[in-house]
Symmetry: C2
Subunit: 472 residues, 2 copies
Amino acid sequence: MQQQPNAATRGNEAVAALREALGADIVSLPAEFGGRQFADWSGTPSADPIALIRPRTTEEVATALRICHQFRQPVVTQGGMTGHAGGACVLGGEVALSVERMSGVIDIDPVSATLTVFAGTPLQVVQEAADHAGFMFALDLGARGSCTIGGNIATNAGGNRVIRYGMMRDQVLDVEAVLADGSVIGGERKMIKNNTGYDLRNLLTGSEGTLGVITRAVLRLRAKPRAISTAWCGMPDYAAVTTLLGRAQERLPAGVSAFEVMWPSYCDFVRERLPELRVPLGSDHAYYVLLETCGADPERQSAAFEDFLADMLDDGVIADAAIAQSDADAAAFWAIRDAPAEYPRLIPGRISFDISFAVAQAGDAAQRCDERLRARWPQATILVYGHLGDGNLHVVAQEPGWTDADIDDVKRVVYELTGEMGGSVSAEHGIGEEKLGVLGLSRSPAELAAMKAIKLALDPHNILNPGKVIAM
Amino acid sequence: MQQQPNAATRGNEAVAALREALGADIVSLPAEFGGRQFADWSGTPSADPIALIRPRTTEEVATALRICHQFRQPVVTQGGMTGHAGGACVLGGEVALSVERMSGVIDIDPVSATLTVFAGTPLQVVQEAADHAGFMFALDLGARGSCTIGGNIATNAGGNRVIRYGMMRDQVLDVEAVLADGSVIGGERKMIKNNTGYDLRNLLTGSEGTLGVITRAVLRLRAKPRAISTAWCGMPDYAAVTTLLGRAQERLPAGVSAFEVMWPSYCDFVRERLPELRVPLGSDHAYYVLLETCGADPERQSAAFEDFLADMLDDGVIADAAIAQSDADAAAFWAIRDAPAEYPRLIPGRISFDISFAVAQAGDAAQRCDERLRARWPQATILVYGHLGDGNLHVVAQEPGWTDADIDDVKRVVYELTGEMGGSVSAEHGIGEEKLGVLGLSRSPAELAAMKAIKLALDPHNILNPGKVIAM
């Protein structure tokens, strides 16, 4: 039986081979990249990698992975480092592969409504290129300036427009990726319909760097909205919230492009801590809904939107509503929903949850979650809000002085409730390293076994982002 | 080394074990199911299975697969048998597993807009249940009365509304399936957002019975359209066709729900062979487009639709147009597009293709395909039409007296062209047994290797629908 070299020796050999094959410009050593940050936005601690690979081409990525495969050398792929689950952090012993040099729009095809792009391109660059070509790229999220398309695909990013346009996987027509053994799949297909065997594109999307390194993608462009109508609604109860959602989907000509629900504690927090944001309506409603529709026909849409809201007021579905009369009004409504950008300053040390339920259960889930947390930590700040049209709740909890054990307890309360109610422990942020331990609350042993079998089939030496997504 | 029993002996043992575990009502033998048809709509010849399993529950499916796994006994799953690629045909030596007894709607959740259903339920039953609950189930295709939801998922069915609502995979929130070893995954989740590990749902969707037996699904319901506007447009050239598509997506308030393009040969064929269908406009246009939008606001939509078409006429994008003034008009337009239902009578022995390209290339692809076929078979009937909004072309070719060798040649011409132009050899019908040999024209060796690895990981003895989708 052959003796296995230990990990450190193996790592040194792998780095030497990488450096020899790709050169010092592509493969740098700790002494050369000193000071660089390898942590993401989740707050998960990150080690330094044993080397940093910054390839310029898919071929260089393939060379790097072939060598890592050969030496059983773990690799963590890094994009914009804006993840919320520690999926791109270095656990120790990995080489980091950054796609930062593989950046740029390759092709815009206005007839096919597609945009082909390198994985390291920031989301905002894609949005701007699409806009310039007369289209919209539908994915949008707060980290747009820093996050990369590769990371958006690897995590199946969500955001505010999912209710209308879907998740990142719905924006992707093809993905080019380098698999663990250095083989390259996909990358240039612009077809919307393509039933040729297993759906590798969707398998890679959301796999968080554990099945392949995404190097390129063909993205789907959408017609640019010519009219946006926005309202802030005060709701009498949760039944009214879901009724409004259903009626809006049925009656608004362009459908619903955002349906953001805020619980009163959230609005009270904004009123108190961010007084510069003027929250419309009184503070006596049971829920607040930010409703948006975006379509093609400014005049007719505006009239239809006003008719709809008037009917909902008449029917008692909405208790009170403010319609944005200008872009500035709409921006002011959105500023309230975007208050979480101020959390790092206002609620340091908070614990954030990104969970989802059937829409019919989300109200009950939020209430139970709030009750269980308050029963145990009556002084805590607890905020609930979310993309309710998708059943996606964000829950934030914080109390100054919480110990690590308290934090674990808070997580246990929320995730166990999520599991009990058949919800998802990760709606849009992914599993990464942070939620590895709770994946089993949303996935059965048979599902975990199937995922492990797929992982081992495509990455038999478990070199791609080990310790993330699924415990092997 | 242990001696392997031969396939026939093994098959007898497997059937005996199945019959003992599940009983003669569930597992019937050839003498008992004599006369039953096992072929699908593709015309692929089908053998008889060595036994027919008709389970009533997921647990019975699991028992059956556990036994087949143990005995290395191949299994072909059968639904409504309406497939176009031979994916559900019996090649010889398999047991057939029919989901016909696992039929019915389990739950409609109007708040979450979901419908939970057993796999053997016909599509039309789901459509009617959704309609009765005030919703629409978005998938629609000609075989609706016979095809099953399980088959729709297993083949990732397409149809006429893909441009607006997506393929079957976009209608599915969760899939319950029994894997080769009898383990059961998924089946009850109603969440739209669920980023918990690998996307098993999308992997099963479109896997044509080779990765698991689908037993149940949670489907997504859509708001029922309250207004449908339809026009028949004569187009001057292909650039005008793609311009109309882009403008319609940009300017129609409810978007585009159908964009069906017919080449002149198609319309001439309909005029000549189906004179009872009155084709609107003259016969002097380069292309014909059936354009439909469906939305929420009858009056405003109708006005917007007329404004839009008037502008397109003014701009010269459309040469001439007829707007449906009634449901009967719209039905008459659709009857022209639905003429393929008459093919079995009118064009016996035809070869049908279901290929796709980038929208920008579909016109060129159709022209080259037509030219290459006509150059070689000048007398052949060649019809081209398709869901152009999705880049999906249907090509039909026939000449009385074609031999099997001619048919192989025709297929070679079309599929090689498809491969050359980076298209897909199967847009919506799947690979099945029929296109196994041409999958490599649309998928690279690395992709085929990845698919094989996944297949072996989930079905190590290759018992699930062997000889379909991918050559092992």
